[in-house]
């Protein structure tokens, strides 16, 4: 029997500009329930803008974003706050709060966003830190005392702390060495599977994209130019995708290089 549920995330005709520069130019993309979608593309192609529009951090000029079939563009503040309960987000630079201890960072959404008691939130924070391979002693440190890889793991623990239905990953392996990047990729795959969550990731790391994605879509010049199962990325027969996947300087994608 086919799945009759609406896509978990459905984007149609999304447009977003910054001044004269049109960053998103009619993006259409769906992500099914429990699916892991990875959006690839070069730097500056609008991947982060797309994810921020879905999260409601940026407001698109045109287009539709549906979560569980419900339109979210133009939601009122209270409705947006309620919708945020469904989301978890891992930011590229971790975006941990410097003034709080690690466990307080992980428990932040539970205490401030959902009004949970600190003692209970502390317990959950330690559980989530353990799930990403960090001990309770790390919970008492400040983010500035952690390495880049540990900060990413704490950010991952924070993203999953409230057990969200949809988790967004913004360049989860950027700035990490290959081994730590693989550790993060493994954690993402395992945790998303355990939670039964839907995942939307953006990256230009093809190793990461192949590992964490069920499906891959490529964003170029503000449009989705190809999408398909992760296993078919090498047989896309799309010259833009081929050039990106193989990291070739020569091809239809011309990098904008200006003399300083």
């Amino acid at each position: 029997m086919s799945d009759t549920r609406p896509p978990k995330v459905s984007v149609r005709g999304l447009e977003k500009s910054f001044g004269p520069k049109r960053v998103l130019d009619g993006v259409d993309i769906d992500c099914g329930v429990g699916e892991s979608l990875v959006i690839i593309g070069g730097s500056g192609t609008g991947k982060s803008v797309l994810i921020k529009c879905i999260l409601g951090l940026l407001h698109p000029e045109r287009g539709s974003i549906r979560i569980d079939g419900v339109e979210t563009v133009g939601l009122k503040r209270a409705e947006r706050t309620a919708l945020m309960h469904k989301f978890g987000m891992l930011f590229q630079g971790a975006a941990l709060f410097d003034s709080l201890r690690v466990w307080e960072n992980v428990a932040f959404g539970l205490i401030q966003g959902r009004g949970m008691e600190r003692a209970r939130a502390h317990e959950i924070a330690l559980e989530k830190l353990a799930a990403v391979g960090l001990g309770a002693e790390v919970g008492e440190l400040r983010p500035a005392e952690l390495s880049g890889g540990m900060q990413k793991r704490v950010a991952l623990a924070r993203a999953i702390a409230a057990e969200p239905e949809i988790i967004f990953f913004d360049e989860p392996t950027t700035g990490l060495d290959p081994i730590m990047a693989d550790v993060i990729n493994d954690l993402i795959v395992r945790l998303v599977q355990e939670l039964g969550a839907t995942a939307v990731s953006i990256t230009h790391d093809m190793v990461s994209a192949r590992k964490i994605g069920h499906r891959i879509a490529m964003l170029h010049r503000g449009k989705i130019i190809w999408q398909g199962p992760a296993a078919e990325i090498d047989d896309s027969h799309n010259p833009f995708v081929d050039q990106f996947v193989h990291g070739r300087a020569e091809g239809p994608i011309q990098m904008e290089v200006r003399a300083v």
């Binding site: 503040r77 987000m89 709060f97 410097d98 959404g109 401030q112």
Partner: protein, 258 residues
């Protein structure tokens, strides 16, 4: 000629747009006061940071201001044998004008800059976006506690600045200029009216709000990494200082204008 006029027009439109953005930001901050949840711990933390830790700098500037005021007014009044007016001039100047203005400018430099730098760094490192994704309204969590702290703390600091400033004038007048202590204090008390102190405290509340508003506004809208945060900090201090002096004139005219 047309280019020149166009640039003036563009600058004026830019000014109007910036004023509109600032007003919208202030209204969003105030509106946050009417929507729970509230964060009393954060408000108390800001009051301590803004008030308690500003006491030394406000106290020092106030005492030296009172001392200089006594010296200068003595120099001026002695030219037409009106030395007895020194105590009155010191207490009225300190409570009506110098206490709130000096405290406001000092807090703008110390606290407004720190607010802009802290919130600006949170902006450029995605921490403010992270707050939103964790179902926490940045206006309620970051802006409102600072606005309330500014509104509450600066009047308290000005009470201290008033006392210390008048004390500075008293010390110089009695020790250096040979005034009789009892006469000096009697004159200070005789010519000081409740309205003089109250107007200064109202001004202080407004200045505190301005300092916090400019720190939060410029930090919240900072862009472009470390350079953007640096610019936000500078703009926060400069704009708060100008607005303090401008609003001081308007409030003085409202309280004491004929």
């Amino acid at each position: 000629m047309l280019d020149f006029l166009a640039s003036i027009g563009a600058a004026f439109l830019g000014f109007l747009a910036a004023t509109g953005r600032l007003a919208g930001f202030a209204l969003s901050g105030i509106a946050a006061a009417f929507r729970p949840p509230y964060y009393p711990r954060l408000i108390v933390r800001q009051i301590i940071y803004m008030g308690y830790f500003s006491l030394p700098v406000v106290g020092l500037t106030a005492i030296f201001t009172g001392m200089v005021l006594a010296l200068q007014s003595y120099t001026g009044f002695s030219r037409f044998n009106a030395e007895s007016a020194v105590a009155t001039v010191v207490v009225l100047s300190v409570t009506r004008e110098l206490g709130p203005v000096i405290a406001g400018l000092m807090v703008a430099g110390r606290v407004g800059a720190a607010m802009a730098a802290e919130i600006g760094t949170m902006r450029v490192t995605d921490q403010i976006d992270a707050l939103t994704t964790l179902s926490t309204d940045p206006f309620r969590y970051l802006v409102l506690p600072r606005l309330l702290a500014g509104l509450i703390t600066l009047p308290l600091l000005v009470v201290v600045a008033d006392i210390v400033g008048v004390f500075g004038g008293y010390i110089v007048s009695t020790v250096k200029l040979g005034f009789n202590p009892v006469t000096y204090l009697t004159q200070t008390e005789t010519y000081l009216e409740t309205m003089d102190v109250v107007s200064g405290l109202v001004k202080a509340g407004v200045f505190g709000f301005i300092v916090a508003l400019m720190g939060c506004y410029h930090g919240y809208h900072s862009r472009g990494g470390a350079e953007g945060v640096g610019q936000a900090t500078t703009h926060a201090v400069v704009s708060a200082s100008i607005m303090i002096l401008l609003s001081n004139y308007l409030l003085t005219a409202a309280f004491f204008g004929k």
